[in-house]
Point group: none
Chain length 129, copies 4
DNA sequence: GTGGTCTAGACCACG
DNA sequence: GTGGTCTAGACCACT
């Protein structure tokens, strides 16, 4: 369910955060669901507990989770909020890429066609993992 | 002509490389044109010469420029090659973003519409800088 | 009558102690009155009995209550003692805050005015809960 | 200039943050001034670099400082912003304490007199440390 | 058992 | 030199 790519230049703790956000967005983790404990997850992923802790702290800081001392970490966000904020972020990146594509004089239709391809390739199946 | 954002998390030497690539793509730097000297650029941008050097080395490693000992660095690529490699890279990023947008269940048409907006917003003027 | 804020960084057992102290100070709990049993309170507040126990033990250690084996916990303090110790504690915190306000160069009169506001806002009604 | 109380229940990294905020507020650290490096401060205070790092990261997250990779951490805030946010925070604590003092039936004038005492005791001299 | 904090020591990319 | 990340292992308060 949670996968880490050690070769990725993105830090492990960020990958962890992304993984958990995705689980929440997909509905695999619902509001007030408990996250795996720091130690347990550290065990499963063979990662240092401090790294998990850093990811959890940051998630809490972002208001996506909350923690109760001695009890664990729990999901705070509902899907709607998280989705809209993620969507906004992705559109921002899309703007940057579009800007560069324009400078490369790549025609608008070619980009849209690519989008179409990606959508066909990935459509469905995502919830079955 | 070359702008650096020190607060950007992207390393300065990468920003430099991107800037130079863009200049080549736009036709501001043609094949066999000489790049500004390390010292001169370091002076203008108030950047450590090592950083300029690193960018130049990397550009050379990528085959985009070549250097002549004691003479300087020069543009090697023709536009066609550079454009296609940049385009490929951007399409790769586009694939990643599309994948995430699909998981967010953002409709294909909404994404395409956004692309359209960005194209309208940036069209023209970009080549005059 | 007793309210717990699970998200507060202050430990639950301390919140419990504060709650009980307040009840005693307000006269809702008199000398030799019996405190609710650990089990009952744990039930009502949906809190781990160990946590209640810890609060009660600490209250006893502070001489505010006493316990009779097999019978329960009872109020020991009279109002006068408790009030003066609480008052001293609050004045201590006030000293700390004043010190920081002085460093911020907040004028003495502005602070006093704020105190006045708080007193007007909370005056009356508080004893009826 | 920076003092840590190891017996304080407040974490070291928070004490560090408070110290630095105070330095900024007092004008000892101005906008774009460089903070001591993580390693240097760790050395001076005999504290683990990771702890310093945590404090610096949090300060940066709060927008009080910014960091340039490979160069150091620098002050971002100007006095005005920081002061007003700190002031607001202190008044919040003051409200809590006032509320409790009211319940203890401590007369408003006694509190104001205390404030007066604290102000007389601490006035001046703070900038000479 | 839980999360929160801290130390010690290491490696990396960047300038 | 700098900050950023990670590991390993420890202690604490709280439930």
């Amino acid at each position: 369910m949670i996968t880490i790519d050690y070769k990725d230049r993105k830090p492990i703790y960020e990958q962890l955060m992304d993984n958990i956000k995705t689980l929440i967005i997909r509905g695999a983790l619902l509001r007030d669901d408990q996250l795996p404990s720091v130690r347990q997850l550290a065990n499963e992923l063979a990662i240092n507990p401090n790294t998990i802790q850093k990811a959890y702290s940051e998630l809490e800081r972002q208001g996506i989770t909350y923690s109760l001392k001695g009890r664990g970490s729990f999901v705070a966000s509902n899907l709607v909020e998280l989705r809209s904020s993620q969507k906004q972020l992705l559109f921002g990146e899309l703007a940057t890429i579009s800007h560069e594509l324009i400078q490369l004089e790549v025609p608008e239709d070619e980009v849209k066609d690519k989008i179409g391809e990606f959508y066909q390739g990935n459509k469905g199946g995502e919830l079955d993992d």
